[in-house]
């Protein structure tokens, strides 16, 4: 919404062309395995966890913040949910506990940033480290096994032939889109990221906006963490590590400015898909995991360079 036609065109649509280009490339290289309906469902499933985290991350980045703790929260929530379910045998209690923990740590991040005025990078780097530690303490460093099959459904089951994790991702996308595009609150998120002083002067409650975006990020990380544990069938203590980088990459690939105030929800989804398609396509092409990381890094760099070049060109 914030991107006007005159200078945001490339930034906004360039990423779509990027995704289409990558898909065409792999479709030519591997028409029989890559370019099949079942593989696209697989890609969606593979991207769902990252996109859940990225959507939360996007709220934070729009306010010119950053949340490095999303992966750590996802890991802790998986463990807490699994642990609670194993201990009590109650699925819903387990899910509620996990989601509660996710929101709580999001709120803690938000309060540290909004009230203690600690820069978001430092604040969430610290909580990332602390949360990772808490997860290890809670699990004693051991994975949690023996989860009921009802729990497996979240990450592995289908609803009307559609994987449930894709449905969750779609719901989160729709909710984020509505909130950011259609509501008063969404406008406030963009404004605070764009100019915090002018937003304050316009009567926006800055602290409330800041705390809430981290809480939203915590909530979505929690959902992502539950899907992850469910998909693996066990809660690994370190399952979430590294997820923050993919989430941030998806947001930035999608054209959201790290300086805040500018971004497009659809872009984040596409950014998430670019990462997933790359992972999937390179695996199908039998490229070693080591090289995959290098290629992924280069593609992200290239994409961001192209969008900023396009933006400059379009501005002239």
């Amino acid at each position: 919404m914030t991107i006007s036609k005159s200078n945001g065109f490339i930034r906004k649509y360039g990423v779509i062309f990027g995704l289409v280009g990558i898909i065409i490339f792999f479709a030519i290289e591997s028409p029989n395995y890559f370019f099949t309906p079942s593989n696209f469902i697989l890609i969606s499933k593979q991207s769902s966890i990252n996109i859940l985290l990225a959507l939360g991350e996007m709220f934070v980045i729009l306010t010119a913040g950053i949340d490095l703790s999303v992966g750590a929260i996802a890991g802790l929530v998986g463990a807490v949910s699994a642990g609670t379910i194993v201990a009590t045998g109650n699925l819903f209690l387990g899910l509620a506990a996990g989601i509660g923990v996710g929101i709580a740590f999001g709120l803690i991040n938000g309060v540290i940033v909004a009230f203690a005025k600690v820069p978001a990078f430092i604040a969430t780097l610290a909580t990332m480290s602390a949360i990772t530690g808490i997860t290890l303490i809670y699990t004693q460093g051991e994975p949690i096994w023996n989860l009921p099959s009802s729990f497996d459904f979240i990450g592995q089951g289908n609803l009307a032939d559609i994987p449930f994790s894709i449905i969750l991702m779609a719901l989160a996308f729709i909710a984020a889109w509505i909130i950011l595009e259609k509501t008063k609150y969404g406008r406030h998120v963009y404004a605070v990221g764009g100019n915090i002083k002018a937003s304050r002067a316009a009567g926006i409650k800055i602290s409330a906006v800041l705390v809430s975006v981290y809480a939203i990020s915590g909530l979505l990380s929690a959902i992502g963490g539950i899907v992850l544990a469910s998909r693996l069938g066990t809660a690994e203590p370190t399952a979430g590590s590294g997820y923050e980088l993919d989430a941030i990459a998806a947001v930035v690939l999608g054209g959201t400015s790290l300086f805040g105030g500018e971004g497009w929800v659809v872009g984040t989804i596409i950014g998430g898909y670019i990462i997933a398609v790359l992972n999937n396509g390179m695996t199908i092409m039998n490229i070693s995991a080591y090289y995959q990381e290098v290629v992924k890094g280069l593609v992200i760099l290239l994409a961001v360079m192209l969008t900023s070049f396009g933006k400059k060109y379009w501005n002239e």
Binding site: M1, T2, S4, K5, S6, N7, K182, T183, K184, Y185, R187, H188, Y190, A191, G194, N195, K197, A198, S199, R200, A201, A202, G203, I204, K205, S257, G261, E262, E316
Partner: protein
């Protein structure tokens, strides 16, 4: 002898023709004024001459030779300096660092060039001194300066380049009479040293005071270039806006000023002391003073943007204001002085900026109603005659005056009880000023109390029902605009300064 000539310059932004075939000659050693409505293309033309924008087509001749600038540095190296309307200073850096940005003075030590901060500070101090503004501390950060001091730093920065052609885009918009006079004596001095000056202003009196010739732009076209003694103010205005305008101020409405409903008692902070005043319903209270006198800070404090001591009484009760939302709840609004700092979110569109403080009015259960929103934006735009290519245009692509109209316009939607206007017409053209004055009268006739902070004395004298003058953070007197003159204001404005 023409030192600078532009020929058939065309420029468009995303399909909108902003400059249509401009031909302009500037004589060596003259002070050439450029005037025109907001959005006429003045700043765009200047940026092209100073190498910041490239024209779509057209030629630029310097001393008869064609030149092509691909960057501002090219222009600076050819002796052209531009003083921006929207400042080009780096907020996190200090005054002296900004003055020497890109031209840092260095000293060699062990074969390596190190920046010589001591020398830079000394030089910066000297530059400020020639300008008589040595009271700006050279090592304070730009973001901590007032708008006027930012403007003065921007001017000092350009002066320190020793350019042959100095382009000034609305340098006086944020200055009071005193600084303006100082600036003019410097300009006269520069002129006698052979510097050519291009000068943009919406304050037409200034142009008659110092310009040798004037060019009028309208809608991207050059309407005329005249020697200043060949034209009258009325002719310039009618060439600018395409119709004649007999009065600069609308007729004073016959209104009844109501009861006292607001009182500030003994307000003080680090920028003002012992401020006592009251405001009546429907009254326009002017607060005048020189740059740095503290009137802006008083206004911002009442709106909750700054910490202060003292008491505020409103509608018979003592009220507590510690943040803008408190003031807004009581119906007290502020149109801030610095539009880039406090007024606008530059990445957002005209529509989104307009809506920012008004979303509660435009939304139902938290959802923004686009139809109500659009109508409100469009009404405001047509009321203030704001020039935008669409309501979704980003505000940082608007001309300076049109940005100001967006800032002002967003508060027109609400029904305020008190409106604090801090330089409401900064950078606004004569036609639009008239509309804003009419709006101020309309509001005050409805019973809104208005606090008008302005550096334009004519504005304060014409609009106010009562004038307070501040100097060095204190109120130094109260004047009745019926009988007061500009000199009276100035006398109070420097009181306590000489000693």
């Amino acid at each position: 002898m023409d030192i600078l000539k532009v020929e058939e310059i065309k420029k468009s932004f995303s399909g909108v023709n902003v400059l249509k075939n401009i031909n302009l000659s500037i004589k060596s050693g003259e002070l050439h004024a450029i005037v025109g409505e907001n959005g006429a293309g003045k700043s765009t033309l200047m940026k092209i001459i100073a190498g910041e924008l490239e024209p779509d087509s057209g030629k630029i001749y310097l001393n008869g030779k064609e030149v092509q600038f691909h960057s501002p540095l090219d222009a600076i190296n050819s002796g052209i300096a531009l003083i921006h309307q929207e400042f080009s200073l780096v907020p996190q850096l200090t005054v002296y660092e900004n003055i020497f940005l890109g031209r840092e003075i260095s000293k060699r030590f062990l074969g390596i060039n190190f920046v010589d901060r001591k020398e830079m500070k000394k030089e910066a101090q000297a530059v400020l001194k020639t300008f008589g503004i040595e009271n700006i501390p050279v090592d304070s950060k730009i973001k901590d300066l007032s708008v006027a001091n930012k403007q003065l730093t921007e001017i000092a920065k350009a002066l320190s380049t020793n350019s042959k052609i100095l382009i000034m885009d609305e340098p006086t918009a944020a200055l009071t009479l005193r600084e303006t006079e100082k600036l003019f004596s410097i300009l006269t001095n520069l002129k006698s040293n052979g510097v050519t000056i291009i000068f943009i202003s919406h304050r037409l009196e200034e142009i008659f005071q110092i310009a040798d010739s004037v060019s009028i732009l309208r809608n991207g076209e050059l309407i005329a270039t005249k020697q200043i003694n060949e034209v009258s103010m009325e002719e310039i205005v009618s060439m600018m806006i395409g119709k004649s305008m007999s009065n600069r101020f609308p007729p004073k409405p016959s209104k009844k000023i109501g009861d006292k409903f607001f009182e500030a008692r003994n307000l003080s902070s680090d920028s003002f002391k012992g401020i006592n005043f009251s405001l009546r319903k429907g009254e326009i209270l002017g607060i005048a003073g020189l740059v740095g006198c503290g009137n802006t800070q008083v206004g911002e404090s009442i709106y909750g943007l700054r910490k202060f001591d003292g008491e505020i009484y409103f509608e018979g009760k003592k009220i507590n204001i510690s943040k803008p939302t408190d003031a807004i709840e009581h119906g007290i609004f502020l149109v801030p002085e610095d539009r880039h700092d406090l007024g606008l979110v530059l990445q957002l569109s005209v529509k989104e900026n307009h809506s920012l403080p008004n979303l509660d009015l435009f939304s139902k259960v938290g959802f923004v109603s686009t139809s109500i929103e659009k109508k409100s934006v469009k009404d405001t735009i047509s009321y203030l005659n704001t020039k935008v290519s669409s309501i979704n245009q980003r505000v940082d692509n608007l001309s300076g005056g049109n940005q100001q109209k967006v800032v002002l316009g967003k508060w027109l939607v609400r029904s305020p009880k008190i409106l604090i206007l801090d330089e409401p017409t900064r950078g606004i053209d004569v036609g639009a000023k008239f509309e804003i004055y009419k709006f101020i009268y309309e509001q005050s006739s409805k019973g809104v109390g208005i606090i008008l902070i302005s550096s334009e004395l004519a504005e304060v004298l014409n609009l106010s029902d009562r004038i307070l003058v501040m100097s060095e953070g204190r109120i130094t007197g109260e004047l009745d605009p019926q009988s007061a003159t500009q000199e009276d204001i100035l006398r109070l404005a420097v009181k306590g300064k000489e000693s």
